[in-house]
């Protein structure tokens, strides 16, 4: 027998006097609103935590296969040797303390009609609303000859922090002075638009001290990139001609890799570039579970209603973070955190029959380019007619002529950003 809310209220009124003590808690459970969050990265963990902050009566289950999450942001500091991979590691104890049920399994199916999520081993979790924060899938086959096995073993992507980050750091450490590091940057859209260039900067920071005769070659699948002028000015000043950037229009797009000869082939002419260390960041799409659940469009990303982040494809399922289409917000950690709160508020409103407040969206993103030198971009967005728009006259980049004192402060603020946002996500 299923019981609706009204039946339960009737029964509840009698409960203290009449209901059997053993039976009562079960009825209570059946009536609680249930949200299942799939994916324990920035978007998913923030959504789970803020659902419980906004409405502690909601039963929140977080499904995440890994015991810990390693943030992608700040992982370039592992490559420069400024921090350990462990300093990027966050567990789910904070969420458990908030009353989130954490299930350490992989979601294998999301059924919008039956309102249930299936995990590895077949167990199912029913929901009133589901929030999916699947992150990205790396499409290794976007580069001929590349594969996940190769990325794990010899030519890391290191675009999700973890063993490949460690591998790339080790390769840099064992490279000879005078060696060449090749970084392949993907076309838009992809996770963390300034990331490949921060990576080049922090690898250069390391090489300048330890292996100053070395070179870094960025082969790019596009003609411009995030914070470009700020990066290039910093490179020139800090690293001379150590970093070379080859845009799409100058044969920059990597088409093929040969692991045996450590060669990549770029551009229409497939010009060969030999590297001592090769880091290929392949094209991306929304995480696999989003594709399996029918949440993605033909380009592989998830269209959503930006007021609620409810999928345009599947009712009752919301998508936040890198996987969703929320342009002009970039695919950044701060965006995911910001979107997850808007989504959590909308879900609380939907479940309680209330009205969601006007949503607010912000992005702040720091890139560290060298010792005492960081740059940032900020954006405040408002929802206008279903579209996100940056508030006119606000946001934008660090000024080109910022003083050394301000560049140095931005490093301290970047590290503060990391501490505060991870606390806000994981508790």
């Amino acid at each position: 027998m299923t019981m609706n809310r009204r039946d339960f209220i009737k029964l509840g009124a009698l409960a203290p006097a009449a209901a059997g003590l053993a039976g009562f808690p079960m009825i209570g459970r059946a009536a609680a609103k249930r949200v299942v969050v799939v994916g324990g990265g920035v978007g998913g963990a923030t959504a789970a935590r803020y659902l419980r902050i906004f409405d502690p009566s909601i039963e929140v289950t977080l499904i995440e296969p890994n015991a810990n999450y390693f943030t992608c942001f700040m992982s370039n500091e592992v490559l420069s040797g400024d921090r350990t991979l462990d300093s990027l590691k966050f567990g789910y104890q904070g969420l458990v303390k908030r009353g989130v049920k954490v299930v350490q399994k992989s979601a294998t199916a999301i059924d919008a009609a039956a309102k249930k999520v299936t995990v590895d081993g077949g167990q199912t979790f029913e929901f009133d609303r589901c929030i999916v924060s699947p992150g990205i899938e790396l499409k290794y086959d976007g580069i001929k000859g590349y594969s996940e096995a190769l990325a794990n073993d010899k030519i890391p992507a290191a675009w999700k922090a973890g063993p490949q980050t460690t591998l790339l750091r080790k390769q840099l450490e064992s490279m000879k002075d005078g060696g060449k590091v090749i970084i392949a940057a993907p076309a838009d859209p992809f996770r963390c638009p300034p990331g490949p260039y921060e990576r080049a900067s922090l690898i250069a920071q390391y090489l300048k001290v330890k292996k100053p005769k070395s070179k870094i070659l960025i082969l790019d699948a596009k003609d411009k990139f995030a914070k470009q002028d700020l990066f290039m000015a910093a490179w020139k000043e800090l690293y001379g001609d150590m970093i070379e950037w080859v845009p799409f229009s100058k044969e920059g797009k990597v088409a093929k890799v040969d692991a045996g000869s450590m060669t990549v082939f770029a551009g229409e002419l497939e010009s060969a570039h030999k590297g001592d260390v090769i880091n290929l960041i392949p094209p991306q799409s929304a995480g696999k579970i989003a594709q399996m659940a029918g949440l993605t469009d033909e380009k592989g990303w998830c269209p959503v209603d930006l007021a609620t982040f409810e999928s345009s494809k599947q009712k009752g399922i919301h998508v936040v973070g890198d996987a969703c289409i929320a342009s002009p917000m970039p695919k950044s950690g701060y965006s995911a955190n910001s979107q997850a709160k808007v989504c959590a508020a909308a879900v609380v409103a939907a479940l309680s029959g209330g009205k969601a407040a006007v949503p607010a969206f912000t992005n702040t993103c720091y890139s560290i380019v060298g010792p005492n030198w960081a740059i940032s971009v900020a954006g405040i967005y408002k929802l206008e007619g279903g579209k996100l728009e940056a508030v006119k006259g606000s946001g934008g980049l660090s000024p080109a002529n910022a003083s050394p004192e301000m560049r140095k402060r931005e490093v301290m603020y970047a590290h503060s950003w990391f501490n505060n946002i991870t606390q806000d996500i994981f508790g």
């Binding site: 339960f8 209220i9 509840g12 409960a15 203290p16 003590l21 009562f24 808690p25 209570g28 009536a31 609680a32 803020y50 906004f54 409405d55 502690p56 009566s57 701060y334 955190n337 910001s338 709160k341 808007v342 508020a345 609380v348 409103a349 309680s352 209330g354 009205k355 969601a356 407040a357 006007v358 949503p359 607010a360 969206f361 912000t362 702040t364 940032s376 900020a378 954006g379 405040i380 508030v391 006259g393 606000s394 946001g395 934008g396 660090s398 910022a402 004192e405 301000m406 402060r409 931005e410 301290m412 603020y413 590290h415 503060s416 950003w417 501490n419 505060n420 946002i421 606390q423 806000d424």
Partner: protein, 197 residues
């Protein structure tokens, strides 16, 4: 007796599950706005450092004045000038009220005991009339200094003394006196305020 207690507990649990007074309303617009600040300034406005300041507990006057200064460019900034321009005066006022009601949570930070001691004496002689209760109270736009992150306190003082941030007359006079008395005086004061638990 035992049964009566259990009954009460069940009613409480039942009320929480069902709603009634315990049902949380969806967050309002100012909460949503304030929640976009906390990725940098810390959950509930208390920063975990090392430099971004805690904004919880700040008086509404201080908050509004700061945002005004960032907006019109009169206050030096790294990123807040770009962010402040994204909000109307009314939105700033709402956020000011929101954060003014939250407690300033002080985190542990390293300070130099000798500087703290010297700073304590300087505070008594030059600052405590406005920065009352060792900088704990934000009266007349004095901001809360006690337990603020040390790098941030130093940035603010650098902006006052070298960065073109305007000081009130009485503060300027006292700062000059401190500088004349002890070349490390301002640094000592910052250590003193940062050391407050």
């Amino acid at each position: 007796m035992k049964h009566a207690f259990l009954g009460t507990a069940i009613v409480a649990a039942w009320a929480m599950t069902l709603g009634g007074p315990a049902l949380a309303a969806p967050p309002d617009a100012v909460t949503m706005m304030a929640n976009t600040c906390v990725g940098c300034h810390g959950t509930n406005g208390s920063s975990t450092g090392p430099a971004t300041p805690t904004i919880a507990g700040m008086s509404t006057d201080t908050f509004i004045e700061a945002m005004k200064g960032y907006k019109d460019g009169s206050r030096p900034a790294t990123v807040m000038d770009r962010i402040a321009k994204g909000y109307t005066d009314d939105e700033v006022k709402q956020m000011a009220t929101y954060f003014s009601k939250l407690p300033f949570v002080r985190a542990q930070q390293k300070t130099d005991p000798a500087l703290v001691k010297a700073g304590a004496a300087l505070h008594k002689d030059h600052c405590e009339k406005c920065h009352v209760d060792n900088g704990r109270k934000d009266e007349d736009g004095s901001n809360i200094l006690a337990g603020q992150w040390l790098p941030y306190l130093n940035y603010a003082m650098t902006d006052f003394t070298k960065g073109g941030r305007e000081m009130e007359k009485k503060m300027k006079a006292q700062v000059e006196k401190v500088q004349a008395k002890d070349p490390k005086g301002l640094e000592a004061l910052m250590h003193f305020y940062a050391s407050q638990k």
